[in-house]
Structures are given as C-alpha cells and as structure tokens.
Amino acid sequence: MYRLGIDIGGTFTDFVLLNEQGEINLAKVRSTPGSVNFMHDGLKVLCHNLNITTDELLQRLDMIIHGMTVSTNTIIQQRWADTWLMTTRGFRDFLEARLGWKPKRYDYFWRYPPVIVPRYKRLPVSERTRANGEIWEPINTTDVMDNIEKMRKAGAEACAICFLHAYANPTHEREAAELIKEELPEVEISISSDVLPIHREYQRGSTTVLNASLKTSVSKYVEDLGKALRTLGFTGEVRYVQSNGGLGSGEFLADMPIYALNSGPAMGPEAGLFFASLFNRDTLLICDMGGTSFDVSFVQEGSIPMVKDVDVCGYRVAIPMVDVTTLGAGGGSIAWIDDSGRLRVGPKSAEAEPGPACYPQGGQEPTVTDANLCLGLLPNGLAGGMELDRLRAEQIIQQKIASPLGLTLYEAAQGIIDIVNSNMVNGCEAITIGKGYNVRDTVLVTGGGCTPAHAYDIANALGIKEVIIPKIGGVLCAFGAVVANSKRDYIRAYLTKLGEADIGWMNVTYRELEEKAFADLKKDKIQREKIQIVRTIELRYEGQSHELTVNVPPGEIRAETLAAIRELFHKEHEKFFTFRDMVSPCHIVSLGVVGYGQVMKPSVTRDTRGNGDASSAQKGSRLTLFRGYKESRETPVFDGGQLKCGHIINGPAIVEEETTTIVVPPGSTLELTEYQAYLLHIQ
C-alpha cells in the first residue's frame, strides 16, 4: 500500500509517494491556485513513473496527506469570512490595540495589516467572571440577543466569543454560543474557552477570531478536495498537515482551521529528524534554503521545537506551532549597498519573476545565485533546461557591487556569498547558542534547492562536522508529511503556586485531557494502542510573565512528582537563561497534553554498498573559485544520477543533481550512503 504526501508551494506542488518498503516516487507539477486540478496532474506523473494506471494507483493508495495553503492564503489575501466578536462590555478593543506594541522604534510610518473584526463588529455583552472563575456579574442575555439581531441584519458569517477569564470558567461563553446557535444556525461559531483556554485575552481572543474567520474557507476546501478525490475513485483516508507538525483529519481542521495556519514549513523538522535517525542522530539543525527564504529549526534529542504566541502574517496566534525561523536569505536574495556604504544581502529577493540577473529575462539586481554562478559553483544550465547567463551575472555584480566598493569581481561575488552565509549562521546561532544549546558536533540536514551549495560554510562556521544531504531534499516537506504522526494538543490554564497545587485536581485534569485525546484520535481512526500521550506543564518563577514548558513524568502525580517537576523547571530555566532562582516560588501557568497517533512507519530500503571509486560518474570539469584560491581552478563535476551507493568524492568537486547542486569544497568529502542521502564530512 502507498501513502502520498502533497505539498503546495507558490509555483510548484510536490508529490511524494511512499510504500511500506520505503520506496519513494516523486512528482513536481505546476500549482493550480484556487483549484484542486494539481491532483490530476501529479497522479498522472506518478502513474507514468510507476507504469500503472490511475485506477491501480488509487486502489493501492490508503492515505493522502496534504499540506493545505488555503488557510494562510485566506489571511494573506484578506478573504476571511465576515467575522464578528462578542466580548465583555468595556473590553472590545484588545484585538485592535495589539498590546500597544509596534516594531521599529524610529519608524512612525510602519502599520499593522487591517484588523479582522473592525470595531463596529465587536459587540459588548454585560457579564463578568473574575480570575478565580467566580462569576461577578451574570451574563445579560438581552445584550446577546441584541447583538444577534445586529449580526442577523448584517448577514454575519462567523462569530467569535471571547469573554474575560473564560479560561477559568466557560459558562458565559457557552451560554452565549447556545443562543447564537439557536438564532443563527448558519453562523460559524468559535469560543475562546474551547479554541485555546489560556489566560491573556489578546492571545486567546486573536487565536479564536482567526479560527472563526477561517472556518468557511477551510471546510469548503476540505469538502472540495474530498469530492475531487472520490470522483477520481480514491476511497482511502485524507489527512492534513498541521502547524503543530502532526497530521489532522479534514473534519478536525474544518472546526479548528487555526491548526492549518502556516503549516507550510512545519514538516521540515520531521523530515530532517527522519533522515538524521537513519544515521543514529537525534540532535540536528534542519536548514531549507529556497529561492527567497531560509527556514531553520533545531531539533534536540528527537523533539521537534515548538513555539506559541507569534505573529503569523501580522496576526497573533497562540496555539503551539513548530518553531521554524525564517530569514530573507535565498538564492534570489538581492545584494545591495545601503546608504552607509555597507554591503548587504537580502531580505529583498528577485523572486521567481524576474529572478536573478543570470536568468533568461532576469532582473537588474545581483543575487546570491548570480554570485554562485560567477564563482563557478553552479552549472550554466538549471533544471528544466533553463540556460543561465554567467556573463550577465558577472556584469551586474561588477557594476552594482564590485566597482562601487572597489573590489574585484571575484571578491565581490565571494563577499555576497560570505554575507548571506553569515546571515544564515547568525540565524542558526540565535536559535541554538543564543538559547543556551550546543550546536557543535551535531548534524546539519539540508532541504530546499539552494542549501547544498551553502551547507559546507554554514556547518563549518557552527562547528558541525557532518551534513546529511537527502537526494529528495527539494521535496523535503512533502516527504515529512508522509512520515509524520497524527497529533493533537490540549491545554488547561491553571494559575497557582507549584507548592500549593491541588494534586487531586491535576490528576483528574490530566486524565480528562488524555481521554479527550484518545476520543479525538479515535475519530481520526487511530487505535488506542497506537496512541502515545505526553503530559506537559508550563511554569515560571513568581512574577515572570514568560513561562517554560517541561514534560511531566508519567504515572499518577504525587508530592514527589511536583518536586521532580520543580527540578526539571530549574534545569530548563538555567539552560535557557543562565540562572536558576532558588528563592522565588515556582508558579504553574497551565497543564497540557499532547496526543500522538502513529500512522505508519515505513521501513527504509537500504542500497547495497559498492566501492568508493566515483570516477565513472564524473561528467566533466569547470573553472571554480573556492574561498582562499587566488584564481579559478579546474574542478571535477559529477553527475549525481550516476553516483552509486558507497561512492566517495574528495573535495574540491561539484555534484550536480536534477534539482540541486552540491558544492564539495577543499577539505571535505562527500559520500553517497545507502539511504539515498549524501553525507558531507568536514575535516
């Protein structure tokens, strides 16, 4: 049986087909914005590869896993449903107040994107719950009914409810939701105590509003895709990639579309971990350098890094999301000289149109790709038979960078590469060393077409000696999707001192959340024995406003468990922030449960190892300038398609793959391993 992963990008949609034996088949087709036609195109290519009919493929296909972009695109294009918000009277502006914070201190011209619910659609209700859950003022149902009338008249499509302290007591929110449901059954409702029961009304409210505003478009998409697949004759299951790095069913995401937001890069770390574990490594840096941006995550001891409380497209989201840092560093990043005379690279990119200067009808600005071409690191032709114009790349770099700065052409080209590499290294350091983690001697895994040309420099600067370069790096996220597990997150606010925590209540709460996880994953057709539960707890020292998450030891919670949790927290705090505080009490902020449902672990095909002599795969040579060379030297060029498992190439060399170019500088060795992945060793 097969599993199919599909990842939609701006230009291309990637297909990865995997069977239980671990055999992989790939397809890359043009994206079809606004329709599901890409399915036909992709299946056609796969069937052609396998030499079977579409019907045969569909019969053997038991699951399609799909990274949808509809939820992110809906936000970017501001095509959300007509969304309203009911709040506690006197507090209807937190959504637009945005905590009173803005970036860029001396820039008074910067603006946020428009608020999703304008003020006249934010409707107050007299009611009040206090921080401890006590109801201070009962809900005024006349207010709710008046608001419903307003919504009815205006033809509202969605409604979020966020009352103060509803995480501590959801009674009023539920009451209001019931009334809306009765009166306006067609309106999509999201209530904050269901979507994300945490304290902090801005984070909870903003997440809930986004969720409500996305329901219509996401449920429509799920329905359309399901229909299209059924029409094709597909009878298996469909799963979607979530921003938390796991999979969810269409039914779940139609109700909780917020979990589909920004799920694009979420699968990179999972895929990186998959490859690293083939080499018995569980701590890795996964880097994905594409045309416009560089995505990086640090996976430690097998755990995918998570983040919450971030702005996505300018809107605050507080559900847990895979922590992927994105920088404006890609092959298309533009090199420029700023008003102080400083050479900079990015964040602006030449994008797909017009593209780097060396592209046919390319742009007028020098890019990273132009610099690489100039140095002889890239072939003169790219995938799709596109010719790259090296002469033009040289002219532009000379004119825009080298001459103004008084550098030679090659100094300028090398400088562009050094700066973009340094930007990426800084990004990598910020998420590792900057957080107190050791990155030396870990492993770097590459994804994205541009990374293998820069991997050596990035790894070397970070003290990393091994780089894993999967052949399928260009479709890494789609691959991540087919090896991922189902995942659900649950959270319950609990603001109390750790020393005064009610152990009985905690046990009951954890059990409740766990049962919820079992029930929800069962709906996604995961058997109980395939479900793994992880309990978490968020803690901080008294007075802090930022909490850290630690895992709770399994089993019944007792007084000793609390002591163990305290110690885990001290340790984590010291690791993150260089000190532990033995005087201040620890406070609990929330309890959490993560449910993982194992879907299918593919076995891995291992190629047989041949001898190390790669000379048969050499297809020629070209002049290349590596750092430290005074002038260009002839460097052997290998055809990646001809390399066999066990082949070893000593740098300096270039290996050309169909979708990427691997640069093997002097002082490094590249080996094709039995897992269809290269291993770059740095001495």
């Binding site: 001396y106 206090r130 050094d418 910020a430 007075g543 802090q544």
Partner: protein, 589 residues
C-alpha cells in the same frame, strides 16, 4: 557615489561583523524578555541593551529598545568609565541609576560591564531596565510629592556590584535594603546580568575569530558610516534657525511654563539649544542625559533612517542644555522621577515644532498623546501584603498621524515609541486583587486632521474589599491637547485632554497634574487619556473615512460635525452630503 568611501576593513568583513553585533543585542533582549520579573519591566519591555566600544561609544543598540534609555546610557557609560579610570578589571560589573552622573530617573537601573580581551578594554556591555521601586516617599518610583531627589529614593552612583568576578553581596544588599520589593528586583538584576553575560561571551568569540585590529577598524568604519548617513540627511534640510516650544503644565502653582528650543541647521550639522525655566521643586526636571536622549530620538525619527544607529549618528548633533539649574539641564538636588515622560515628551514636541519648519512633508509626524497614568498602592485583602501597581495598562495614548496615514491607536508614551506593551486585564487581575471594569479606546480622543491621530484609552478600576487605596497620578495633558501639524486643529477639545477622576456615588472628583488621592471602599477610579495629534486640515478628511470612524465609534456624531464638518444622521449613520458640503465650504471661506 559610493566609490569615494574608503573603509579600513574590507566591506564584506565589516558587514559580517556588524550583522553579528546586531544578533548579539537581539540575544540580550531575548534573555531580558524571557526572565524579567517585576511588572513594568516584564510587561512593558521597559529595558534596553547597548554594546559600547572601549571608549564608550555606542556600537549597536537593541532594535526594539527604548529610545529614552539609549540616549542616557551613552552619557552614563562615558561618565562611569571616567569615574573608574584604570581601576576597572575583568569580571567587574557596575550598577548605576544616578541622574547626576548620566542617568534619567532613579527607576532606570543600569548594569554595565567592561569586556577585556588580553588585558585590553575592548567593549562595554550594558543593560538598562526600569525598576518597580526606588524606595523614597511613594512605592512605584514616581514621586509626585517629592521636591528634591533625596526624597525620590536611592541614588546609585557608579558602584561595583561584582569585582573581578566576585559578587559584592554587601553592596547589593545595601541597594535592596532601600527598595520595597527586593525579591522582584533581585530577579530583575539576575536577568540584567544574564543579558550582559550573553553579550560578553559573544564579543569574545567575535574578537577571537577576527582579531583585535580588524574589530577595532570595523568600529571606526561603523562610526564613520553612521555619521555619513545622518549628515547625508541633514544636509538636505534648509539651513537656518528654527524655534520650537512646548508647554509644561502648571505643577504646584508654578504656572504653565514654556520649554523653548532653538535648532540651527548649518550644512550637514545641527545645533540644538535649550532655553527652559529654572528647575521646579517637583518631579519634572530633566538631567542632561535625559534631555540628550529626547534630542537624539526626535532627530532619528525625523530623519527616517533605517537602523542600525550608533554613536556616529550623533556626531553632527551639538546640544546646549542651557544654564545649569534649568529644567533641561537639571542639577542636584532637582527631583526628576517623571522626567523620562514629562518633560521628555515636551522636549520631543518642542523639537518637532522646530523641525516641522524644515522637514519635507513625507518626514512629518504629529505629536503622540500624553501617556498619563497612575499608580495604586494598597494592602491585598486576601494576603495582607502591601502591593503597588504602576498602571501602564491605563496609560495608553495614541500615536500622532503621519503624512499619508492615521496614527495607530493604543500606544504608550512617545518616548518608548512602541516598545512598551500593555499588560493585559487577565494578567493584571491574576497578579493583583483589583477589578478592572473598562479598558477600551476613548472616542474622539484622536486629534482631528486630514489624517487622524490614534485613539487613547479609557480605563476604569475598582478595588473590591480594599480598605484604602492610594492613587498618585502622573503625566500631563490636562490643559494642552497633543498638537497637530499642517493645519490640524481640534474643535471638540474635551476628549483630547487627559481626565482622571474618582467616581463616588455618581460624582466625579477630578485630579490635577501630580496629585494623589486616597480611595475608600466602593470608589472607582477613571483614567482617560488623550490620543495623538492630527495632520492636515480635518475638513479635508475623506467624508467616507469620517463616516467609517463614526460607525466604529472612533469619532462621535458630534465629533464628526465639529471636528470634521461632516453631518451624520445619528440613527442611520448616513452622511447628509448636502449639509456637509455646505458646512465644509463655509469654513473654507
């Protein structure tokens, strides 16, 4: 054009070193954000990180830090380094808050550490953070009753709290013994030291990688680059002498006072000269570091430059603070605990009025509202412990309009320029035993103009089961609305002024600037803040924009009529086009 620029270091290394330094300040900020302890500090991001070179020249500053800190940190760092001379060693950390030696007000406490490399002083790293208490007459640091600095709390001149790596516990204890909430403040100090530690490690790695000389050359190049950028802007501003003024509202019978500034632009440099009245026996005096910070702030905003900013950017700006003992050049024993907002914001406004005469339209920006708040202190009825809360959650004003866009609503003081986050109702109520009953935009508070000022906040709070609560207000704006630019005028004035009052049995008792009051059980306290100033003639504002503002209750029907000359039917909210045209025409004649 660029071919004339000669660098000491090759441009690639320079760019990489600079990028690394910027990353380091980001890491310092991360440590602070995540570990800070006390309220204002943790919610409000009221802290800043700077890396100086060995001569105390600012190399990089945190991108999201407080402008008002950045100016004073430079002044203080220089004084501190002179103070110790050669008596400074690896492992030393100095603590400081004294306005007389470069500080702004006692609440801002700075930890600064030298970074030695092979026995040579190469850098200083510093973190400045607003602390919740300084001792003194009132909890919270804002000493509205003080007449001189000795009543405002503990002054910390340059003093080592770590000496050659060893903690001087006695000194730290001395500081903490003079502060009401030592536990919180010890935590905050640890966060500050953590931030400095991250930077020290990073700087060592940097020098190890590139060598001392290269780094020194990079520093000189960076200074030149900063200088060149700002000169490149100033040179486009017409030469001349420009006057600006702003008004300090009467405090304790002082009468309203003029704070005057003269800005002289000559080629690519400028001179800023202050002319302010003698210091007052109140907390609104500005020591030179604080005044300097305001000048730098307004120049950088007006120049519309992208970061990074370093000491080179300050080179073409000469500042004369006026005679010692005047408000802009305070000397001991002048009180100053409110100085970072009042008169700092007045200084920004005076500078703005002067520069408005020279700036191109695209660089113009209107005044931000007065971020006027208050502190409440009492005993928590359930724990019997004393507490003080500085209501930054109430002190939200609005940003001034800029050329081409309305100001953003709900911003704190301009001196923080968007760095200060509002603590949320659910956070405050989990930490403090009060009940907030309103926290929303205040209608009509945005200054009217073709582009409207951002709205300020309207806030109401009560203190269930409390016996007594002491409220002390700070900030101004009771009399003067935030000024507009390019013909922006306010006709509906009342909602553009700061109003703070006690509500008792439906009756309002207003509080004036710097006053305090004691609440009884059942009293409620209201704080209504002004928004930002507008830009351009409000009668030229797009009619549909005004209609939408009314629909959103940013502007009332009355406000639409008076401020914007737009006639709107109160029930249907339809625009009466004819009446509007007539009204607008009449006013333009």
């Amino acid at each position: 054009m660029n071919s004339n620029i000669k660098h000491r270091v090759d441009p690639v290394t320079l760019s990489i070193v600079l990028g690394y330094l910027e990353t380091l300040t980001k890491q310092m900020t991360l440590v602070m954000t995540s570990t800070a302890r006390s309220g204002i500090f943790k919610f409000a991001h009221d802290y800043s990180d700077v890396i100086f070179d060995g001569q105390c020249r600012c190399l990089v500053q945190g991108e999201d830090d407080q402008p008002i800190h950045l100016g004073t940190m430079a002044t203080a760092a220089e004084i501190i380094s002179q103070h110790f001379g050669n008596d400074i060693y690896e492992g030393d950390i100095i603590y400081h808050n004294d306005p007389a030696t470069g500080g702004a007000h006692l609440q801002d406490m700075m930890a600064i550490a030298p970074v030695f490399i092979d026995n040579e002083l190469m850098f200083w790293v510093a973190n400045k953070a607003h602390q919740i208490d300084t001792g003194g007459m009132l909890a919270g640091g804002y000493q509205s009753l003080a007449e001189e600095i000795y009543q405002e709390g503990i002054r910390i001149p340059p003093v080592k709290i770590f000496e050659k790596g060893r903690e001087r516990k006695d000194i730290i204890d001395l500081v903490m013994a003079n502060i009401r909430y030592p536990l919180e403040q010890r935590g905050d100090l640890a966060a500050q030291l953590g931030a400095c530690g991250v930077a020290i490690t990073g700087l060592r790695n940097l020098v190890k990688k590139y060598g001392k000389q290269t780094i020194k050359d990079c520093i000189e190049d960076m200074m030149d680059m900063g200088e060149r950028r700002i000169r490149g802007v100033i040179t486009n501003w017409p030469d001349g002498v420009y006057h600006g003024v702003d008004y300090l509202e009467s405090i304790r019978g002082s009468g309203d006072l003029e704070l005057k500034v003269k800005v002289t632009i000559e080629g690519d440099a400028m001179t800023v000269e202050w002319d302010t009245p003698p210091v007052l026996p109140a907390f609104v005096n500005s020591y030179p570091g604080n005044t300097l910070a305001s000048v730098y702030h307004q120049v950088l905003v007006s120049a519309r430059l992208e970061p990074p900013f370093n000491a080179g950017c300050y080179r073409p700006i000469r500042v004369n603070f006026g005679p010692p003992g005047t408000i802009a050049n305070a000397i001991l024993p002048a009180a100053c605990s409110n100085a970072t907002t009042t008169p700092a914001q007045n200084f920004l406004n005076a500078m703005r009025r002067a520069l408005s005469q020279v700036l191109p339209k695209e660089n113009l920006n209107a005044c931000w509202g007065e971020s006027a708040g208050f502190t409440s202190s009492s005993v928590n009825p359930s724990t019997n412990k004393r507490y003080t809360w500085l209501h930054i959650d109430a002190a939200v004003s609005g940003m001034g309009a800029v050329w081409g866009a309305d100001g953003m609503p709900w911003m704190h003081t301009e001196v923080g320029a968007g760095a200060i986050s509002t603590p949320q109702v659910e956070e405050v109520e989990n930490d403090y035993p009060m009940l907030i009953t309103r926290s929303e935009f205040r209608a009509d508070s945005g200054g009217s103009g073709k582009w409207r000022g951002g709205l300020g906040g309207s806030y109401m709070v009560e203190y269930p089961n409390h016996k007594q609560v002491t409220i002390a207000v700070m900030g101004q704006g009771n009399k003067f609305a935030p000024c507009g630019v390019l013909g922006a005028t306010n006709r509906l004035l009342e909602p553009k002024l700061v109003r703070r009052y006690v509500l008792r049995d439906g009756k309002k008792t207003m509080l004036g600037t710097g006053e305090r009051v004691i609440l009884d059980e059942g009293d409620r306290f209201v704080c209504e803040v002004s928004g930002g100033g507008g830009m351009g003639n409000p009668f030229e504002r797009d009619v549909d924009e005004v209609r939408m503002d009314v629909q959103n209750e940013f502007v009332s029907v009355e406000g639409a009529l008076k401020d914007y000359g737009v006639v709107i039917e109160p029930v249907t909210l339809r625009v009466n086009t004819e009446a509007t045209a007539k009204l607008r025409k009449k006013s333009s004649v």
